[in-house]
């Protein structure tokens, strides 16, 4: 019924109605059941997005926005069969790189890699400048989920780089936030009166559909120095990571576990053979003097904490090809599925979180061995907070979405790996249990979506306030129903 109208808005070539296509777009990486969208449309401009939403909502259809699809928590999966799914990837213009006023405007479907390259041409970058999946992950999706990695130790999560948003609300009304909403304004600050930018960040698409974003810019550093340390235990790794973060001078600080170090050793970083726990990172500076001085402080600190300095080529390699490692964030080295779960903790809870995870895995040792499930423990400092990401690897059917993202020679090899129902069930079950353990410890999460417990984890006053806000912005509940546990 509305299919024709939607096809007129976005162009017939930009509509998917066949069963396989709709199923493809309706699924994410979480291996969970979904409703299949009734139609998938790919709008080409913010105006088309607004029109699509207006038409869909008028017909009582919920809408859901999908970016790069790199979701493990059902963020964009439909919960109702009459959902109109918007594939946002055609909104791929970097609209303006303003180096006088230090902001960049990008459409929501721009990927982090694309954004980085566009800004780098002008000698600038966004403070948070992308995820490891940034070849595919879009800025709109990353802001709906919130995101971490490049730039995070110094500048926090993606949220902290936002200066303003353009959002399509339920019913198709478009609003801009911050100074962007001023008649004669440009998006140079989010703070003008009550900051409306905030609610649309980390909402996992519950409150509106972002069409354009304005992000802060900083100068590209003229000097970058890598550092790398080997430590004897997981506790030592976490302590070192968080103490370096407290200096406030490293741009990224992250920790690898024995599994990850083994993978990198096999890739050719042979100095990692036999090395268990490592802490890696980068200090950037406006010039060599500043970067060198910062790196020296990091090394002094590490020495005081008893860490051993090792070859820094891993963090430098990560920086050299920041978005090229997609395969290793989607899969294990032999084609295993990679499935993360994470918790964000204050420093004081880092050890408890680490101990709890290790104890949990110990308690499941038999099951893990029986199903040949491997585990990795990745850590990152965001600001001074502890980001802990245990991940599960197991052999399973990878599916078209994963396979299309990796090099053909690996895809061909791994596409025949079968689905083993029991293994998947065990792995997914452990993921849920570990999430509950983290929540008991007061963890918070990115990309809450329809997977992390949320309504049961927040105080009633917060839940009521969020609901009141949702009702104010989306009275009929037609924006991504079910997200954050909001009907």
């Amino acid at each position: 019924m509305i299919t024709d109208t939607l096809a007129t808005i976005v162009g017939a070539a930009n509509v998917v109605t066949d069963d396989a296509g709709r199923a493809f777009y309706s699924n994410d990486l979480s291996y969970t059941d979904v409703e299949t969208a009734v139609i998938v449309v790919a709008p080409g401009s913010p105006e088309e997005v607004a029109e699509v939403v207006r038409v869909a909502n008028e017909a009582g259809c919920p809408v859901v926005a999908r970016g790069g699809g790199m979701s493990y928590t059902r963020t964009f999966v439909p919960t109702r069969p009459n959902t109109v799914l918007l594939d946002m990837r055609r909104l791929d213009k970097v609209v303006e790189v303003n180096t006088d006023d230090m902001y960049v405007i990008a459409e929501a479907g721009v990927t982090w890699e694309q954004l980085y390259l566009a800004c780098a041409e002008h000698g600038v970058r966004t403070p948070f400048w992308g995820t490891l999946s940034g070849r595919y992950a879009t800025v709109g999706g990353a802001l709906s989920n919130n995101a971490l990695f490049f730039g995070s130790t110094k500048y926090g999560s993606a949220a902290e780089s936002v200066l303003g948003l353009e959002v399509v609300l339920a019913g198709g009304k478009t609003i801009r936030t911050g100074s962007w909403a001023h008649h004669s304004g440009t998006p140079f600050t989010r703070y003008y009166g009550p900051d409306l930018t905030g609610p649309f960040i980390a909402d996992t698409g519950s409150l509106g559909i972002k069409t354009r974003v304005s992000l802060k810019l900083v100068q590209l550093p003229n000097a970058s120095v890598g550092f790398a340390f080997s430590v004897p235990t997981f506790d030592a790794s976490n302590e070192l990571t968080l103490e370096i973060a407290k200096l406030g001078i490293a741009t990224e600080v992250y920790g690898f576990d024995p599994l990850y170090n083994g993978v990198f050793a096999d890739l050719g970083f042979s100095f990692l053979k036999g090395v268990d726990w490592t802490v890696f990172g980068i200090v950037d500076g406006a010039n060599d003097a500043i970067a060198d001085a910062g790196a020296a402080l990091v090394r002094d600190l590490a020495a005081r904490l008893g860490a051993e300095e090792i070859d820094p080529s891993v963090p430098m390699a990560v920086r050299a090809d920041p978005f090229g490692a997609v395969r290793s964030v989607l899969m294990g080295p032999k084609g295993e599925v990679w499935m993360p779960i994470h918790g964000i903790f204050p420093k004081s809870k880092a050890k408890a979180a680490a101990d709890a995870a290790v104890a949990y895995f110990d308690s499941k040792a038999d099951l893990i061995a029986k199903h040949d499930i491997k585990l990795s423990l990745l850590t990152l400092a965001s600001g001074t907070d502890f980001i802990f990401e245990p991940s599960f690897y197991w052999f399973d059917e990878l599916g078209a979405f994963r396979l299309e993202k990796i090099e053909k020679e690996w895809a061909d090899q791994w596409k025949t790996i079968p689905h083993v129902a029991e293994t998947r069930e065990v792995a997914l079950g452990m993921r849920k249990e570990l999430a509950a353990i983290f929540d008991e410890l007061g963890a918070v999460h990115l990309q809450i979506g329809k997977w992390y417990e949320f309504q049961s984890q927040v105080e009633p006053a917060y839940a009521e306030t969020l609901l009141a806000l949702k009702r104010a912005l989306d009275p009929d509940g037609l924006i991504n129903p079910g997200s954050l546990g909001l009907a």
Binding site: S184, D195, L469
Partner: protein
């Protein structure tokens, strides 16, 4: 009736009905009083504050929160006499969590108190206060948004906030961010939709803040200042702009010739013959990093804007040595003038046009200015990513109850009995309003919007409607600071 309930909740001594006292509390610094609140209350804790809000709401009586009184925009002035004005300055609890890099401060804590408490533990908030920080309170400042100390690196008060506690209309207390997690603490702002941001810059329109969680950093042990003299504003600003984009200075600001005249009288003789001065304060954890940053700034200062002349840096150093004492001087001028700032928040590129526009506006009004002994000085200051351009209008007038109570004794002794100068007041206020409109027309936004800056008129209707919808969701009966933001 309500007074009985209030007395029972917070003690009779803390419920004020004396007319002179109520007038003192109901005037801000703007010389534009509205109504005098019928009741003023001074709760002693976050719990008592929440109780007061609930009691007033039960009776359908508006509440207005008031912090240190440093408002120039009628922020807490009651729109209606039947108001319970809540003085938050008895709320002084500070909880420092240096391990997790967060401090929880009650709304009534002043920035000076916060700095003293945290610095005694070797930490401080990254932005650590406005010039008025001896009086300005955390709650009031977060409602207004403000900047200065540390802002060049760390932004505004909004940028350092990780969570808020807000007293709801029903007596329920809302906590935001990770603070809302049932086992959580306020270490991370981002956990689901960022509701914290709605209350930042709301000028007290959306709820009454009881406590705030703010980031902490280690006290930077290395610090230097460097200053330059220029002949014109354009030259000084060119250097300021270039330096600001590097984000290596903690404070960056320009003083004008009129400010120099004042400082010369205070003993800063090196300002003789200096037209416009540009000042940088640099701080960091290590001398080498600070030295290298100073070198860069020295290079910019001597080259940009046609090249400046380096001068004695004792002005910014003196400000740092006594960061909050200077605010006292700002209350009453040496000849009895009251001093009223009016500002525009601009992207870097728009400041020169704003400055020229204001200079022309002043020239057009020179007759009135001369006749009524008005004066205008300028302060231009950077916060991370953009600029605040702040003309200050001075005129001779009665000093009002706030200045009478808080200005230095000698000034009050000399000028305390000066009668109202309504002609100068009308001219000065009119000039302020004209400047505000001019800056808004040039794309300038504002801090402390209050009941004064042209907020509604400046915004795209869709955005203002959304702000109004949020207000309606949170405060359907319009009982929280009615009139603030035009709501």
């Amino acid at each position: 009736m309500i007074t009985d309930a209030l007395r029972a909740a917070i003690g009779a001594a803390n419920v004020i009905e004396d007319a002179a006292e109520r007038e003192y509390y109901s005037w801000d610094l703007s010389q534009e009083p509205l109504q005098v609140a019928e009741i003023v209350v001074r709760p002693g804790s976050a719990e008592e504050l929440a109780a007061v809000v609930r009691i007033a709401h039960e009776q359908g009586i508006p509440v207005v929160p008031r912090g240190g009184g440093i408002s120039y925009t009628q922020g807490f002035e009651p729109s209606v006499a039947e108001t319970v004005l809540i003085d938050t300055t008895r709320l002084k609890t500070i909880e420092i969590n240096a391990e997790d890099s967060v401090v929880i401060a009650d709304a009534g804590v002043t920035w000076e108190e916060l700095y003293l408490a945290t610095s005694a533990e070797g930490v401080r908030t990254p932005y650590f206060g406005p010039l008025s920080g001896r009086f300005a309170t955390v709650g009031g400042t977060l409602s207004q948004n403000s900047l200065f100390y540390g802002s060049g690196l760390y932004g505004t008060s909004a940028d350092i906030t990780t969570g808020l506690e807000v007293a709801g209309v029903d007596g329920k207390v809302l906590r935001t961010g990770s603070w809302a997690q049932r086992n959580g603490s306020p270490f991370s702002r981002y956990y689901g939709p960022d509701l914290t941001s709605l209350f930042l810059g709301d000028t007290g329109a959306l709820g009454v803040k009881t406590r705030a969680a703010l980031k902490l950093i280690p006290l930077p042990m290395a610090n230097q200042a460097v200053s330059f003299a220029y002949d014109t504003f354009e030259q000084a600003y060119a250097a300021l702009h270039e330096a600001a984009k590097l984000e290596i200075a903690a404070e960056l600001f320009i003083f004008d010739p009129a400010n120099h005249a004042i400082y010369r009288k205070l003993g800063f003789s090196f300002l003789e013959g200096v037209e416009w001065s540009l000042h940088f304060t640099v701080e960091g954890i290590d001398d080498a990093i600070v030295d290298a940053s100073v070198d860069i700034l020295r290079g910019i200062g001597t080259r940009a804007g046609g090249g400046g002349r380096e001068i004695d840096p004792s002005l910014p150093l003196a400000m740092r040595a006594d960061p909050f004492g200077g605010g006292l001087r700002g209350f009453v001028g040496s000849e009895g003038h009251v001093r009223l700032p009016v500002h525009g928040v601009f992207p870097f590129s728009k400041v020169p046009a704003a400055q020229r526009g204001v200079v022309e506006l002043i020239a057009r009004n020179q007759d009135v200015i001369d006749r009524l002994d008005l004066r205008i000085t300028f302060l231009t200051a950077i916060t991370r990513g953009y600029c605040v351009f702040e003309p200050v209008v001075w005129w001779p007038d009665s000093i009002g109850p706030y200045r009478a109570r808080h200005a230095p004794e000698d000034a009050v002794a000399k000028f305390g009995s000066v009668p109202p100068n309504l002609e100068a007041r009308a001219a000065g206020t009119g000039l302020r309003r004209e400047i505000a409109l001019l800056m808004s027309s040039l794309g300038g936004t504002h801090l402390q919007v209050g009941k004064w800056y042209p907020y509604r008129d400046s915004l795209e209707p869709a955005t203002y409607e959304t702000v109004a919808a949020v207000k309606h969701a949170f405060d359907p009966r319009r009982l929280v600071n009615p009139g603030s933001l035009g709501l």
